[in-house]
Structures are given as structure tokens and as C-alpha cells.
């Protein structure tokens, strides 16, 4: 390989080539053989590992030293464990998982980004195995990675390593989530503060109610947690000050990230509370609105089983009295749709995806075919351009191309 720019001091030729003399690199003149410059006889350690023709991972070295990315990954795993304050045992488990996964053929050649995410996934799996409540969203924040990518890598890893990691139940997540809310007297005004313990207790009951009412299954857990905590906070001291707070303002005050979904969950949860609140005997049938229900939450939650039973029976009575009428199905403020086939037996609580079912596109009736029918020429011709069309198309394309050139 000729080196540009060098001139042989002996004969003045420009033809200098790389040559190795017993593994000592030299620059030699191709015409007269004079040595222009010499390299070092010995190499540095980094050159030995990185300056070789054969990639280290493909070399036949028997005791392979751990590669740099593996070491970095292990450091990352350890760092995550320290941030999350996991036990030493869990840290070790996570490290073992990472080493095993990293060296597995499924992962050894993935992108660096995936390897970084793999560290977080190992920590997540370890937490789940030890019943340590943690949401995938937390790992997302810590790694600053795309949740989809984390999901993909996590599932691949669990499959590869054959780990059994039962997902965390939402009630367990609640306590850790609650602790993130800065509502102690040193952070906010006394009027607005609430102890983490009380908040968690009340929010847990609300969460259970939400789960029973089908608001939790199939949905992102964090927004519903936020909604439960917000309503718990409002209902523990339902003063005008607190009631005036919107969810967004509450999150800002508690120094928690805002969510666009949590307000919807608040509305849904309030609806459920209204349905139960309706049954409070001392209201004597007065309507309970989302605005007035917060003050009653205390009573509702204390007597929720009784109220639930009463609500179910009055719902059934309402259905029984309405079933003779066809066409007018309006119960307790449900948004019923005229074409819903289950309207004859709507339960009191239903998953929102059932209640607000998407209107389906009219299904084209399945045409009976044998697969061997004759195919008419005219039909096939309808899919082929006429020569004139082709000409027009080509001209139009050229016109567009030339106008692009002009621009």
C-alpha cells in the first residue's frame, strides 16, 4: 500500500510502501529498498487487542476476557440496583441474569442500544422474581429509553433465560408510587398536606373499587394510580381549597409528572363513586353528581359492600322494569347505544371498552368461492394500463422531474 506524500531520501522516489520486517512495521522505498522509517518492535496492549485483523470476538482465544460492553452493562445493572436500593441478593441475581443473557446467541449481536436496555430489563425481572414492586415505566425513566423497546427486549430476555417473573399487582405498586408524591408538611401548606400512610390507605381502597369496576384491567397502571391518589387526597379533607384543585395542579404541587390519561380515569372513578353514592340511604334518592360526590367518599368507602349490593339490586330492578319496553334503554346515566346487542343484560359495571364499543365497519358477507373459478379476461384487463395511459404517466413523470430540476 503506497503512502502518499513521502519521498525516499536516497533516490527521491515517491513509491513508499508499508512493509513488515519480522512484525516490525517499516516504510520502505519500492525502488531502491531504503528504509524510510521504522515502527516500534513491540506493540502496546491496546494495539494487540484492537489493532488486529481478526475481530476479538471471532478469535480462538480460549479464556476470553470480558468484553468492554459486558463490563459496562454490569456496571449499569449495579448502578440501577443502587438507585432503586435493592438488596445485595437482588443485585447479584440481576448481574447473573445479565451475564447469561449477554452471552446468549440471541443477544450477543444485538445493537448497543438493546444491550443498554437489557441491563434495565434484567433488573426488572429480578424485582419481579423477588416480588419487589416496580413498574416498567420506572425503568423507562431511568434508562430514558423507548417503552416499546424495553418491552421487546424484556420479553425476549425472559423467553431466552426461561425466567418466571410474575407481573407486579397494581396494589403493590401503589405504595412505591405514593412515596413519590411530595405532600408532607415541609413541602406544601399544612392545609394541603397529607401523610403518605393515610394517602396510601385511602388510595388502596379506591384502587380496589376501581379494579372491581373494571377500570384497571387492560389499562396502563400509572394513570389509574395517579387518579386514585388524587381522589384520595381530595376526599381525606374535602375542603373547598382542595376541591378546587385540578389534577394537573395537584401533580405540579406534588412534583409528579403529569399524565394525559389520568384525568379520564378520575372521571371514570368518580362515575363509579356516584353510582354507589346514589344508594346512600340518607340521601333519599337525591342525585349524586361528580362535583358533590367527593364529600361522600368517606361514607361510600366505609360502607361500600352494602352500597354495592344495593346498587346491584336496584340495577336489576331497573332492568326488569324496562325489559318490556323495547328501544328505550337509559339507565343511571349509561351511554347506551341503540345497536348494542347486550342491552338486555347490561351489568352495573362493565369494562369501558364494552360500554363504549367502537362502531364496526359493516362486514361484507363472506362470498362462497371454490378457488378454482374461471377468471375473466376483462377483469384482468381492468387492472392493466392502456398504452396511452402509460405514455401519459411517463410524460407526467418527466414533466415533474424537469420542474424539480428547475426549482
Amino acid at each position: 500500500m503506497a503512502t502518499v506524500g513521502l519521498k525516499c531520501p536516497e533516490c527521491g522516489s515517491l513509491d513508499i510502501v508499508d512493509d513488515e520486517h519480522y512484525s516490525q512495521p517499516q516504510l520502505v522505498c519500492a525502488d531502491c529498498g531504503a528504509v524510510v522509517s521504522e515502527g516500534l518492535l513491540t506493540t502496546t496492549r491496546s494495539e494487540e487487542t484492537q489493532g488486529t485483523d481478526v475481530r476479538y470476538s471471532n478469535s480462538t482465544e480460549v479464556d476470553k476476557k470480558p468484553c468492554r460492553n459486558l463490563i459496562n452493562g454490569i456496571h449499569r445493572v449495579r448502578a440501577l440496583c443502587r438507585i432503586l436500593r435493592l438488596t445485595f441478593l437482588m443485585e447479584e441475581t440481576a448481574e447473573t441474569h445479565f451475564k447469561q443473557a449477554y452471552e446468549h446467541p440471541n443477544f450477543i449481536r444485538v445493537s448497543l442500544q438493546k444491550k443498554e436496555v437489557l441491563a434495565g430489563c434484567c433488573v426488572l425481572a429480578t424485582c419481579r422474581q423477588h416480588s419487589w414492586p416496580i413498574a416498567m415505566g420506572t425503568i423507562c425513566c431511568l434508562l430514558e429509553a423507548n417503552p416499546r423497546l424495553i418491552g421487546v427486549v424484556y420479553q425476549e430476555m425472559v423467553k431466552t433465560l426461561k425466567i418466571e417473573a410474575p407481573p407486579t399487582s397494581i396494589i403493590n405498586l401503589l405504595e412505591t408510587h405514593c412515596q413519590a408524591y411530595k405532600l408532607s408538611p415541609q413541602h406544601v401548606h399544612e392545609e394541603l398536606s397529607e401523610s403518605s400512610k393515610d394517602l396510601t390507605k385511602r388510595a388502596a381502597v379506591l384502587l380496589e373499587l376501581a379494579a372491581d369496576a373494571w377500570l384497571v384491567t387492560g389499562r396502563q397502571p400509572i394513570p389509574i394510580l395517579t387518579a386514585s391518589i388524587f381522589l384520595a387526597w381530595q376526599s381525606l379533607k374535602p375542603t373547598q381549597t382542595r376541591l378546587k384543585y385540578t389534577l394537573a395542579r395537584f401533580c405540579q404541587m406534588a412534583k409528579v409528572t403529569k399524565s394525559s390519561i389520568a384525568p379520564k380515569r378520575v372521571t371514570e372513578l368518580k362515575e363509579v363513586l356516584c353510582k354507589l353514592g346514589q344508594e346512600l340511604p340518607w340521601l333519599r334518592g337525591d342525585e349524586v353528581t361528580p362535583q358533590t360526590v367527593i364529600q361522600m367518599v368517606d361514607d361510600i368507602l366505609n360502607h361500600r359492600l352494602t352500597l354495592l349490593r344495593r346498587a346491584l339490586s336496584s340495577h336489576e330492578e331497573a332492568l326488569a322494569s324496562e325489559s318490556p319496553d323495547t328501544g328505550s334503554v337509559q339507565q343511571q346515566g349509561d351511554h347506551s347505544q341503540p345497536s348494542v346487542p347486550n342491552s338486555g343484560k347490561r351489568s352495573l359495571f362493565e369494562p369501558p371498552s364494552v360500554r363504549y364499543a367502537k362502531i364496526r365497519r359493516v362486514q361484507v358477507p363472506v362470498v362462497e368461492v371454490t378457488g378454482d373459478e374461471e377468471i375473466s379476461d376483462s377483469e384482468i384487463d381492468s387492472y392493466i394500463r392502456t398504452p396511452q395511459e402509460i405514455r401519459d404517466y411517463v410524460e407526467a413523470k418527466e414533466a415533474l422531474a424537469s420542474s424539480d430540476d428547475e426549482l
Binding site: 426461561k162 407481573p167 389499562r219 397502571p221 369494562p351 364496526r360 373459478e373 387492472y383
Partner: protein, 306 residues
Amino acid sequence: SIMDEDSALESYFDDPIGNDASGFLFEGDLGLQGAPQLQDPSFLSSLSQPEKDIGEDLDLSFLPDDLPEDTCGNAATNANMTQDRVFDGYRPEESAETDPNQSAMTGSSTFCPMTPMTPMTPVAESSGIIPMLQNIVSTVNLACPLDLKSIALQARNAEYNPKRFAAVIMRIREPRTTALIFSSGKMVCTGAKSEEQSRLAARKYARVVQKLGFPAKFLDFKIQNMVGSCDVCFPIRLEGLVLTHQQFSSYEPELFPGLIYRMVKPRIVLLIFVSGKVVLTGAKERGEIYEAFENIYPILKGFRKQ
């Protein structure tokens, strides 16, 4: 990346769809020969009717004579369903109105038409619901190299953007389908609602290619994947299902609202949603979809909140 999509699609021709390690994970590694619980009639019946006498003789006289052997066998092993449990899945007031031989008015899909009674259609006596096929993916080899640019130029219904994807995307109106045509002569046909429709559509695409001047043949037509869906009409506690069927289920609400159930026998992946809607995919034959649904139905009923 684009290249991954290319090779993933081309690999339709090499490996069957869904032939990844996941499906075999449980067969070999956990020592399960298929899911024993799913096949054991006593287990299944204990889920829904614990007081039922398990020693009852199966009365299969209601099955029509022309059902093939294996379907009978499946009907027998898929829980000891007897005649009087025909309408277990129906609510009492609905069963009075519904014709037992009609295929299901599955929940909100009131527009669901009757599935044609081909020999493979199971007798709807166990769940009363027949999944409806929504999509069939098939492949065929036209066995001649194709000039994609020329095809895209001469055909009205073709899209070709080599920078985005290395195949021509062609569509026909009847049967309403889409085809991916590669320069190697291989073709993928998607969107049909039945196996016969898929075959007819593939033949039409081949004819179009022939008319455009290529000596296209029609070799190795094969159905690669079938997707069906149905509605069990009651809400399902997915959190409970993932705990009791951990080896088969994956439920991550932060990633996807449905539960992913990987059934071992038949090898079908089911997406189960809280609303009670079920999507079944990964089948090579429609019988696998029906079988998978009959397997999952008693399990789902166990999670029905009364």
C-alpha cells in the same frame, strides 16, 4: 429497518410463520407434552361445574356422520361436553331465542354472517360460538424472475417504491386482497377471508403478471397464516388468568392491553381482551382456530365475574 422487513417477509418461504422458539419453549423444556390441563377432561369440567359427575359416558350421537375422525376426537377430549351443556356459554334468556344450529351472534358483531358448513366446521355444541376468519396469508411461487419496474409501470393497481420496500404492492377488488410481488417471482397474498378466496385472489394476481408479459406459473400455493376472532360476551379478569396460566400467558398492561396466550396444542397464539373479545392467530388450517377456541373457552369462563 427495511432490510429486516424484507428478509422477514422472504422468510415466509423458508420457515412456517411463527416458527420461532417460543412455541416450542414449553413442549421440550418444561416437559409438557402439550398442555395436559387443557386436554384433561376432568380438569376442564372441574373449572366450570365442579359438582358434575366426571364418570358420565360421553354421548356423541349428536355429531353428524360426515365429520372427519380427528374432529370427533377433539370434540371428545375438549372437556366432556355433553348435550345438556350445549348452551353453557349462553345466558338463559338468549338461548331460548337462538337457533342451536345457527352460528353465533357473537356479542357486538351482529353483522357476523353464517360460516359455511364445510366438513371442517365443528358442531357448535360446546361453546356455541364459532370464531370468524378475518385474514388469510398465503404464498405462491410464480417461478420466473420479474421486472418490478415494468410491472409497476404497466399495472393500474400497483405501488412500487424501491427505497422503502423491495416489492411491488398490488391490490385487486374481488376478493379484496393485497399482494406483495418480489423480483424473485415469489408472491405473498393477504387480506382474504377464506382459504378458497385466498387461492382465487392469488390466481388473479398471477394472471395479471402473465398478461404483463411474464411466464408466470402457480407453484406451491400454501396458506401460511390464518387469523380469526370472536367474542365470548363477558368481561375477563386478565390479572387472574395470567397468574393461573403463567406458563402460557403474558399480560403487560404497560405494553399492550390484551393478554397474549401461547397455546401449545394446537400451536396458536390468542390475544384475549378484557371485553371478552378474542383474536386467534398462527393457524395453518381453520380447524386449529376452532380447536384453540374450544380449548380456551372453558378457561375463560372460569374467570367470568358473576
